[in-house]
Assembly symmetry: D2
Homo-oligomer: 337 residues x 4
C-alpha cells in the first residue's frame, strides 16, 4: 500500500521534495497546494499531481501524510491542523520563529500522537551522517572540541533578511542542530558576536552578516561556529571534531576532479555551488527516512523537540550578540538527539 502525500508549498524546496517524492517507490503525491495558484499549477503539471487547497488535503481521510514547505509563518498552524487530522507530518525548519509558539504547537502534536519530523536535512548528508557514526563508534575517543564553518556564496535579498529572524535563527540554526546531532549533548552556555561587514543595510535592518558563536555543554565540551553571508570561492560547509585520540573533518566537496598547474601555481576548481547541489543526497535521504518511518511505524528524527532546541539556542545567540552577555540555557536531559 502506497503512502498518500499532500504537499503544501511549491516553491524551491517544495518542488525539490515533490520531485523526490514522485521518484520514490511506494509514495503517491496526491495533491499540491500553494499560496500562489500558478506556482502550485506549474509543479502539478510537471509532477502530474492535482492542485488542491491545504485545508482540503488536511481534511481528506485518504491522505496519510502532509509535507509542509510553505512560508515559515504558516508552519505552526498547518502542523496543528494536520496533527488534529491524524496525519504524519514532515515540516521544513523552523516550526516557528518564536519558541513559545513551537512549544504550544508541539504539545498539540504530542496529544494527537502523530509522527512529526523537522527538515534538518544536513543530518542526512552521507558525510555528516558517517561522521556522527564514527564519533559514536569512538573513532577519535572522547570528543572535546567541535568547530563548524558555514559560509553562503552571497547574502540573500534584503527583503528576505528582514523577515528571516536574523542570521542566528535563519542560517546558523542548521549548525546548532548539527552540533547537537554530532555531540549528542545539550548546550548550557552560549556566547555570540556578530557584525554587518558585507552590507551595511543588513546592519541597518538590525541583523549581522558575519558571526561567531561559542557553546559549552554541561560536561565541558566546547563548540565553535562561524558563519558568513558571503564566500567568493563558493559554498563553504566544514566540520571538524577533536577528540582524545584524533581528529575528524568533513571537508568541502569539490565540483571537479580537475587540477591545473601553471605559472601561477596549482589550482583546484571551486566547491559544489550551493545548498541544492551540496545537499541533494541529503534531501533525498531525509524524505526516504520519513516515509520509511511511517511504513515501519517508527518515530522519525529529527523530532519537533530537535526543532525547539535549535530554536532556543538561536534565540539565545541572538540575545547574546545583541546584549554582549552570554546566555545560559536551562539544562535539559539530552534524550534521543
Amino acid at each position: 500500500m502506497a503512502i498518500s502525500v499532500g504537499l503544501i508549498g511549491a516553491g524551491r524546496i517544495g518542488a525539490l521534495h515533490g520531485r523526490n517524492m514522485v521518484a520514490t517507490a511506494g509514495v503517491d503525491l496526491v495533491g499540491i497546494a500553494d499560496a500562489l495558484p500558478e506556482t502550485a499549477g506549474a509543479l502539478g503539471l510537471e509532477l502530474n499531481a492535482p492542485v488542491r487547497s491545504a485545508e482540503q488535503m488536511i481534511a481528506d481521510p485518504a491522505i496519510d501524510a502532509i509535507v509542509i514547505c510553505s512560508s515559515t509563518d504558516t508552519h505552526a498552524d498547518l502542523i496543528e491542523a494536520a496533527a488534529c487530522a491524524g496525519k504524519a507530518i514532515f515540516c521544513e525548519k523552523p516550526v516557528d520563529l518564536s519558541s513559545d509558539r513551537i512549544r504550544s504547537c508541539l504539545k498539540i502534536v504530542e496529544t494527537a500522537g502523530v509522527p512529526l519530523m523537522i527538515g534538518f536535512n544536513r543530518r542526512f548528508d552521507p558525510h555528516f551522517s558517517a561522521l556522527r557514526t564514527r564519533l559514536r563508534d569512538g573513532d577519535i575517543g572522547e570528543v572535546e572540541f567541535l568547530s563548524i564553518v558555514g559560509r553562503d556564496p552571497m547574502p540573500p535579498p534584503l527583503s528576505y533578511v528582514k523577515r528571516s529572524g536574523g542570521l542566528f535563527r535563519d542560517m546558523m540554526i542548521h549548525d546548532f542542530d548539527m552540533a547537537r546531532f554530532l555531540l549528542g549533548e545539550e548546550f548550557v552556555e552560549v556566547h555570540a558576536v556578530g557584525s554587518a561587514l558585507i552590507d551595511p543595510e543588513i546592519g541597518q535592518a538590525g541583523d549581522v552578516d558575519t558571526a561567531a558563536v561559542m557553546l559549552k555543554t554541561a560536561s565541558g565540551k566546547i563548540c565553535q561556529i562561524s558563519n558568513s553571508r558571503r564566500s567568493t570561492y563558493g559554498y563553504d560547509q566544514r566540520v571538524e571534531v577533536l577528540g582524545s585520540r584524533g581528529m575528524l573533518q568533513v571537508q568541502n566537496l569539490p565540483e571537479s576532479a580537475i587540477l591545473h598547474a601553471g605559472a601561477a601555481g596549482i589550482q583546484h576548481g571551486r566547491h559544489v555551488e550551493f545548498f541544492l547541489e551540496r545537499y541533494a543526497d541529503a534531501y533525498e535521504r531525509e524524505l526516504r527516512h520519513f516515509f520509511d518511518c511511517i511504513r515501519d511505524s517508527l518515530p522519525p528524527s529529527p523530532t519537533g523537540n530537535d526543532g525547539l532546541r535549535a530554536q532556543i539556542i538561536a534565540d539565545a545567540a541572538t540575545q547574546a550578540a545583541q546584549t554582549g552577555h552570554p546566555q545560559h540555557l536551562a539544562e535539559e536531559a539530552a534524550t534521543g538527539i
Copy 2:
C-alpha cells in the same frame, strides 16, 4: 514522439542502460532480449518492459533504435542485422575482437546509412569531457605529453580473462580511446610491455596483468599508459596532460569528504569503488547523447570508426608486447575524433 528502443542483453551493463532509459523522458523501452530468458524476465519485470527476441525487435518497424549489450561475439552480427533493418544502433565496446570483422561490419553500416554509436562511456564522464574542452580551448597551450593510469580493484575471473582478447583489448582499449579523444590525433607507433605479476595463471593463459604502453603521434606527441589488474586502494583512473603552458590532471574521486588525523598520520578514505560508481554519470550522459542525436538527426560519437581505431591500437599493443617489437600503424587522417 518518443523514441522506441529494444534492448539486447540484460546483464550488468544492459540493466544499467535499461534503468537509464526508463528514467529518460522521450524514450520508450519496448522490449528486452537476453540469451538467458530469466535474466531478460527479471529486468523486464523491474522496468515494466516485455521480453522479446532480438530478431523480433530488429524486425519490428515500430522500433527506432537498438541498444546492444550482449556478449562481444554477437555484436557484429547484431549490428549488421539492425543496420539492414534501418535502426539507429548503440553498441557496447568492442564491435568485435577482430579488426577485419569490424571493418566488414562498418561497411554494412555505412551502406545502410544508419547512426552507430560505440559505448566508450568514459568520454562522457564530466571530468574527462571538461578536460578535453580545456585542452581544445588551449588552457595549457600545445599538448606535448599525455599520461593515463588505469588500475582495477582486482583481476576478473580466469574464465573471463581467457575469452577477453587480453588486457590490451579488454582493459587498455578504454585508455586508447581516451588518448585519441584527448589528443585529437592518430598514433603512428606503439611500444608495449606486459607481465603476469599478480596471478601466474593469467600468464599461463597467455595474458598479462600489469602492462605499460608508449604511443607516438605523427606530430611527435607522446602518450604513456599503464594498467594493472589489481589496486588494493580502490579503482584508480587518472589522466595527466602536459602542455607548453601548463599541466592538467583528472584525479581520482574520493568516496567520502571525511579526513581522519591520528597518531598514524592524516588519512583520506578510499576512492569510489569501481566503474559502475565512478562512471555512473558517464553512462547516463552517454545514452542521453545517443537519443539526442537520433532526435536531432545528428551523427552520434564515438563512431564505429572510433571503435575500429581503438581496436587496431589494441591489436598492435598486443603484438608489440608479445614480440618485443614496437608496431607501426598506418597513418590515417584523424577525422572527427
Copy 3:
C-alpha cells in the same frame, strides 16, 4: 664591526638562539650566563663562548646587546638593568605575567632609549609573514574574519602548568599576537571559554587545557581562536582569513612528501613534530632581524608594546573564562603593529 652579544639563559630556547647567533656573520657571542652554571658551561663549550654572570655582561661596555632567555620572572628586572646600561635588548616572551609590571618596565626602556624586541617568533615564520604581506596587499580585499587553531602534541608537566600563568597567558598569547599582527587592529572585546578535559589535575590547578576565544575589533572584524594542549596527530598550527574577495589559509607543514595508498585509504604522514622544528626558520629570521635593526639603527619589531598588548588580551581572556563575562579592552591607537 661585529655586534658583541651576551646571552642570558642557556636552556632549550637559549641554546637555540645561541646556535643561531654563532652561525650569523657579524655577530660575536661573547658570554653565556645561566642560573645553573653547568648548563651555561655545556653550551659555552659547544659554542666556544665563556661563561659569565648576567650582571657582569650587562655592566661590560664592550657588549652591545643582551639576549634574554632566562625564566619569565627574571625578564623585567634584566630588561631594566640592560636598558639602563644602554644595551640593545632581545627578550623572550613574556616580559612579565603582570601587565602592570610590564608597563613600568617599558617606561624605563623608553627613558633609556634603547631598542627592545620581544620574541614573538611566529611573526617571522615565512608562511605567516607571507600571509600578512598578502593581506596588506589586498589579496582578499577587506578582512572580515580570522580563525586561528593551535594544538600542542601533549600537555606540559603539571609543575610547568602551575607557574605558567594559565593557558591563555602561556599558550594562546602567541595567537593573540598573531591576530594583532595579521589584522593590524586592536581588539576591544574578549569572550573566552575553557575546560579541563584532557587532564583533571590541570583543572584542579585552576587552569584549562581546551579553550576558545572570540575577539572583536572596533571596526567589527571578528577573530576566533581555539587551543588544545593535546593533538595525537602532531603539532597543529593553522590560520585562516576570510575577506571580501576570498580566503587565505596557512596550513600545517607535512613532515614527509610520501603518500601511502592501501586497503584502509589514502594516508599522508604526520605534520612536523613540534615548535622547534615547525618554527626553526622563524627563530633564525627573528634574531637576524634584531641584529639587522641594531646594525641599521632601526627600531626592531615586535616591540615592548606588542608584548604588553598581547599580555593585556591574555589577562582579559583569563578573566572572561573564569567569570563567564566578556571583557572590554580600552580602545588604544593601533600604532605600528
Copy 4:
C-alpha cells in the same frame, strides 16, 4: 683527526659541496682547483681555502680525499690519478659519457683499492630514501610497477645541450639510478621514445626535449619514466610505486603552506624552485655519507658500478629512441644496489 679534502671544480655544484664541507665537523677543505683561476679564487676567498692545482692536491700526501666537480670530460682522468695516489674519491655523475671509458677507469680504481662514490645525490633525499626503506620493509608487498616523472622548469642553453650526451644521459640518468635504487634489480629491456617539441633547435642538434622510457627487470617488474625539459609550474619530481598490497608516492614539495581560495577556485603555490632547493638536504647528506664512510672504513655508495650501470641504461635508451628498436641489456647480478 679531521679528513683533509681537495676540491676540484668551483662551479655551481663545486661551490655547493665546498660550502657543505666547511660546515661539516671533522672535515678540512685544504684546497680548491678550477680551470678558471678566478672562479677558484672567489670560492677560496668565501670558504677561506687556498687555490691549488688539481695535480698538486692529488700529489699531496697530506690530502685524504678528492671531491671532483669539474667538467665531465675531466672526470675519468682525475679519478684515475687520484686513485693511483691512494685518495678516497667523490665524483659528480657521470664518470664519463662513454661506458667503455668508465669500465677502464673503474678497473684502475679497483686495482688501487680506494673508495669511490658517485654523486647520485637524489638517493640521499630524505623522501626518496624513506621510500626505499619502506619498500624494503615490505610496506606495499611485492613491488610490481614503478613510475618516475621528471620535469625541469626550462631547457638548458643549446650550447649545453650539444655537449650533454643527450637527454637520456644528461637528465634521465638520475631516474635510471633512482629506478635501480628503488627496485634493487637490474633491467634487461629498454624501450624509449623522444621528441623535440619544446625547441626545434634541440631536435636539430640531434637531441630530444620530451621523452619516455619503459624498462623491464628479469623478474618482470615494469618501470616507466618520463622527462620534459620544460614545466611552467615549476620543478616536477615524482615517484610512484605500485605493489601487491598498496601504493607509495613521493609527491612534489610545495614552496609555501599558503592556500588561496577565490572566485577562480582553490590555489596552492608553486613547488620548490629547482634542484638546488629541492635537493639541498640530499647534497648535504650525500657528502656526510662519503666522509662517514671514510672515517669508518666502509665502502661508500652509490659506487662506480652504479655509475656504470646507469650509463649503460642511458646509452641503451638513447640507442632505442634513435633506432626505434628496444635494447636488451646483458643480465648482470644485481649486487649491492
